[in-house]
C-alpha cells in the first residue's frame, strides 16, 4: 500500500513535469514572437532585442527551459503581457472566488446527485429512471455558458428572484465590513458570524453554483445508479434478502456503503472539469475568479497568463486524480 501511494505520487509529479514541458514547448516553439508581444506593436527592433534579453529569450532553448523550471519551483509563473504584473500574485487574488464556486458546486453534486442516483436505481426502468437518465446525459450535453444565460433569463428577468451577477451587492458592502480570512465569502462570513453578508453571498452564488454543478450532478447520479445496480445483483445482497431483511435496510445498510468508492472517484474527477467550466461561466455572472481572469487574458491573447492558469489547473487535476486513486486504494477489496 505504502509503495503504491509513493509510486502514485511519483508518477503524478512526472505527469506534472510533462504538462509544464508541453506548455513550455507550445509557448516557445510555435512561432509567436513573445518579445514583440511584450513590448507592444509600436516597438523598434532595438526595443524588441532588449526585451528578448530581459526575458531570457536570447539564450539557447535548453537553458531557457532550465530557467523556466527554476522560476516555477520558486512559485514564479512569469509576468502577464497585459498588466505586466507577476502572474502568481494575480492568480492568488482570483483563486478564492473560483474555489468557493467549485466547492459550492461540489456540495450540490453530493446533495442532489447521490439521492437522484439511488432513486433511479430503485425504480430501474420505470419512467422516473428514464427521466433521470435523460437528465443526467442532458446535463453533460448542456453548454454551461448557455445554461448561465438561461438561468439569468428565468430567475433575474422573469421572476426577479435572484441577482444578475457579482459576488455581493454594493449595498451590503456599504453597511457591513466584508471579512477577509480565506477569501471565500461564505466561509469568512460564517466564521466571523456576519449573517447579513452570508445571506447576500449565498443569494449571489446560487445561479453560478447551479450552472457549474449540473455536470457533476449528472455524472454522480449516473455513477451511483450503475454502481448500486451492480451491487444489488451481488450474491451477498441476495443472501441478506433471504434472511428477510427489509429492502430499505438492504439498501441503506449494506448496498449503499459499497457504492461510495466509485461515486467518490467520479466526484473528485468531475471537480477538475468543473474548474474548467468556470472559465465559461464566470464572466457571465461577473464572478471575479480565475474564469474571468482567463476570459480577459484570452481576449488580449495574454498567453503567459493563460499558461499560468493552465499549470495551476493541471496541478489541481493531477492532485485530484491522485486523491481519486487513493480513494480506490482505500477499498479493502483492492489488492496490490
Amino acid at each position: 500500500m505504502k509503495t503504491y501511494i509513493f509510486k502514485r505520487i511519483l508518477t503524478g509529479m512526472i505527469v506534472l513535469l510533462g504538462v509544464i514541458t508541453i506548455t513550455f514547448i507550445m509557448a516557445r516553439v510555435i512561432p509567436s514572437d513573445p518579445a514583440a508581444k511584450w513590448v507592444g506593436p509600436k516597438a523598434t527592433p532595438e526595443q524588441i532585442a532588449l526585451a528578448e534579453k530581459e526575458l531570457g529569450l536570447d539564450k539557447p532553448m535548453p537553458i531557457q527551459y532550465a530557467n523556466y523550471l527554476k522560476e516555477l519551483l520558486k512559485g514564479d509563473l512569469g509576468r502577464s503581457l497585459r498588466t505586466k504584473q507577476p502572474i502568481t500574485k494575480e492568480l492568488a487574488l482570483y483563486i478564492p472566488a473560483t474555489l468557493e464556486l467549485v466547492l459550492f458546486g461540489f456540495v450540490l453534486a453530493v446533495l442532489i446527485g447521490i439521492p437522484l442516483g439511488i432513486y433511479s436505481a430503485k425504480k430501474k426502468d420505470r419512467l422516473l429512471d428514464h427521466i433521470s437518465r435523460f437528465f443526467s446525459i442532458g446535463f453533460v450535453s448542456l453548454p454551461a455558458f448557455w445554461v448561465a444565460l438561461f438561468l439569468q433569463l428565468v430567475f433575474y428577468k422573469g421572476l426577479g428572484l435572484l441577482p444578475l451577477g457579482g459576488r455581493i451587492s454594493i449595498e451590503t458592502t456599504i453597511f457591513h465590513r466584508v471579512p477577509d480570512v480565506t477569501g471565500m465569502l461564505l466561509v469568512d462570513s460564517l466564521i466571523t458570524g456576519n449573517f447579513a453578508i452570508f445571506k447576500d453571498a449565498l443569494i449571489h452564488i446560487i445561479l453560478p453554483g447551479i450552472t457549474i454543478a449540473l455536470y457533476p450532478i449528472g455524472l454522480v447520479a449516473r455513477m451511483t445508479r450503475s454502481a448500486l445496480l451492480e451491487i444489488l445483483n451481488e450474491d451477498y445482497i441476495a443472501s441478506i434478502r433471504s434472511y428477510g431483511v427489509s429492502e430499505g435496510k438492504v439498501l441503506w445498510k449494506f448496498a449503499l456503503k459499497n457504492t461510495l468508492g466509485p461515486t467518490a472517484t467520479v466526484l473528485t474527477l468531475s471537480l477538475g472539469y468543473t474548474l474548467v467550466n468556470t472559465f465559461l461561466v464566470e464572466t457571465i455572472f461577473s464572478w471575479p475568479g480565475l474564469g474571468s481572469y482567463v476570459a480577459t487574458s484570452v481576449i488580449t491573447l495574454d498567453y503567459p497568463a493563460i499558461i499560468g492558469v493552465t499549470i495551476f489547473s493541471a496541478t489541481c487535476y493531477v492532485i485530484l486524480n491522485l486523491i481519486a486513486d487513493l480513494i480506490i486504494a482505500l477499498d479493502p477489496r483492492v489488492r496490490f
Binding site: 510533462g18 506548455t23 450535453s141 444565460l149 476570459a295 484570452v298 493552465t310 489547473s313
Partner: protein, 296 residues
C-alpha cells in the same frame, strides 16, 4: 479466390451491421437520438438550399429589421444587424458538423498510427508513447485547446487543430490496446514469419483491424467535440464573425442580453440538441458493448 474471400468475409460483417442497427434502435432513447442525428446531418448537407434567408449567412442584411422578436416571418427573431437567426442557426449545423468531423478526423489521423506503432513494436517506444499520452490526458481537454489557440491565434482552423491535439491520445490508447492483442494473433505472426516489413504489417493488418472500435469511439466523441468548438468560439477563440457558429452567436448576443433573449436562447438550444443526440447515441453504443448490460 480473392473475390470469394471478400464475399465470405463481408457476409458476417453485413450481418453484424444489421444486428447493431437493430440493437441500437431497440432502445427508444437511442433510436430517437439516431433519427435526430440523421436529421441534423441532412440539415447540414442541404442548409444553403433550405434556409429562408441564404443572404443572411454573411454580413448582408437590412439593419431596419434589427432585433425583431420571433414571429412567423422570422421563427427565431433577428439579430443586431437584422439577420434572420433561424437561417443562421440552421446554417450553423453545417459549421458545427463539419468542424466536428474535421477535428475528430484529425485526432484519429494522429492517434491511430501512433497507437498502432506503439502497440505493435512495444518496448521503449510503447513506454515513451504512453507517458506522452498520460501528459496530454492530464490536461482538461478544453484547457489545452484554449492554451494552443491563444498561442496559434484565434480562428476556426486553429480551433480544429487545437481540439485534435487534445483528443488524439484517446485514440492512441484505444488502438494501442487493440494492437497489443492483435500482435499475438496467428495471421499477424504468419505475416511476420514470411518476412513482411513492420510498416506493412501495421498499415495493412493492424490499422484496418482496429477501425471499428475507432469509429465507435469517434461517434461517441462527436458530442464533446462539438461542445468544445462552441465553447472556444464563445470565448472568442474559434469561429470569427460573420461565420454563423452557435457559440460565437451566443458570445455576441451577450451584449444585448437579457432584452434580446431569443438571440442567445436559440443557438444554445441548437448546441444542446446536437450534443445531446450524439451523447445519447454514444451512451446507447456503450450499453450494447458493455457485456454487463447487454444481456437484458
Amino acid at each position: 479466390m480473392n473475390n470469394h474471400v471478400i464475399k465470405e468475409t463481408m457476409k458476417p460483417k453485413i450481418k453484424a451491421f444489421r444486428e447493431s442497427i437493430y440493437l441500437l434502435t431497440r432502445n427508444k432513447l437511442t433510436a430517437i437520438a439516431l433519427y435526430i442525428i440523421l436529421l441534423i446531418v441532412l440539415v447540414a448537407l442541404f442548409s444553403p438550399y433550405i434556409i429562408p434567408y441564404p443572404e443572411h449567412i454573411s454580413d448582408e442584411a437590412n439593419i431596419n429589421n434589427k432585433f425583431l422578436p420571433p414571429s412567423g416571418k422570422h421563427f427565431f427573431g433577428t439579430d443586431e444587424i437584422g439577420r434572420d437567426i433561424f437561417s443562421r442557426v440552421l446554417y450553423g449545423t453545417r459549421v458545427s458538423i463539419t468542424t466536428g468531423i474535421l477535428s475528430v478526423g484529425l485526432a484519429v489521423l494522429i492517434g491511430v498510427p501512433v497507437g498502432a506503432i506503439a502497440g505493435f513494436i512495444g518496448g521503449t517506444i510503447d513506454e515513451v508513447t504512453m507517458r506522452i499520452t498520460d501528459m496530454f490526458l492530464s490536461f482538461p481537454p478544453l484547457l489545452l485547446a484554449i492554451v494552443l489557440v491563444s498561442i496559434l491565434g484565434p480562428s476556426l482552423n486553429n480551433a480544429i487543430i487545437a481540439i485534435a491535439v487534445s483528443w488524439w491520445p484517446w485514440y492512441t490508447r484505444l488502438v494501442r490496446g487493440q494492437a497489443i492483442s492483435l500482435r499475438e494473433r496467428k495471421f499477424i505472426q504468419a505475416a511476420e514469419t514470411i518476412g513482411t516489413p513492420k510498416h506493412k504489417i501495421i498499415l495493412k493488418h493492424i490499422i484496418p483491424n482496429t477501425i471499428s472500435p475507432v469509429i465507435v469511439q469517434a461517434s461517441m466523441d462527436m458530442g464533446g467535440v462539438i461542445l468544445t468548438i462552441a465553447s472556444l468560439s464563445f470565448l472568442g477563440l474559434g469561429a470569427q464573425p460573420p461565420t454563423p457558429e452557435w457559440g460565437l452567436m451566443i458570445s455576441i448576443s451577450r451584449k444585448y442580453f437579457p432584452d434580446v433573449w431569443w438571440y442567445s436562447i436559440f443557438p444554445g438550444l441548437a448546441i444542446f440538441v446536437t450534443v445531446l443526440a450524439f451523447n445519447l447515441l454514444g451512451d446507447g453504443v456503450r450499453e450494447i458493448l458493455d457485456p454487463k448490460t447487454r444481456k437484458k
